[in-house]
Symmetry: C2
Subunit: 150 residues, 2 copies
Amino acid sequence: MSVSVREASPRDLVTVGRLLHDFNREFGEESPPPEVLGGRLEALVDGGDTAVLLAGDDASGVAVLRYRRAIWSEGLECYLAELYVVPERRGQGIGRALMTAAIEHARARGADRMEIGVDEPDTAARGLYESFGFTNRSGGALMFVYERDL
Amino acid sequence: MSVSVREASPRDLVTVGRLLHDFNREFGEESPPPEVLGGRLEALVDGGDTAVLLAGDDASGVAVLRYRRAIWSEGLECYLAELYVVPERRGQGIGRALMTAAIEHARARGADRMEIGVDEPDTAARGLYESFGFTNRSGGALMFVYERDL
């Protein structure tokens, strides 16, 4: 069964806000309410550096892409900021369909590199990314994300 | 000895391009020529999402910050895209001065989170970041960067 993926319209963004809200809550993290997230995504999409991809007629998954000009190349760099599939629809190729659409979107937009941050225990996501040719090694060395609140 | 750090002016950006070029060459990677990097940085700084900090009167180190609006908070997120100190000036507190200035810059700009990508063997940089409160763990789990060319 093929899974349709389309770019979210402004009227989808509260639905997307709910998906991202559920995403964070599933992992026990704080989240702003869905309508706040939806409003923020609308501002980001309007600002031009963000695209939101929605899977299926039932909004069973979402990918959020952030773009900016690269330093080391003429193109854009794409950051896959979020990728989420609702629990009851996992294992049905929705993540795979979202990743395929995300890479197509990024190439069409002029990105020549895509980056993702992933936690080590998230083996399902890591396996998905690796199956799409992503690696967490540079010249053999693991690449870490370091972060802090300011 | 204190190390002065200032925001680079447009006329500094070819110098900064040379530093970044030397940075990449030191690690055996391809790099565009300094003047191309300088021109690209000028466009990024003009575009408003990038700040370049330069250490010392002799341009002994550089930090490049990228900003964008966050999804999970009202503020900006800051990505420390580059941090480089010339080999002959290492161990003199220049990286520390650049990090102090980078955090001040990000807070003043309205960022509430800073993120960095670091290779595992780069223990000097990792130690520096950790001494500034950065961590590569989220709830105990290591956080990886995954990437691929498109």
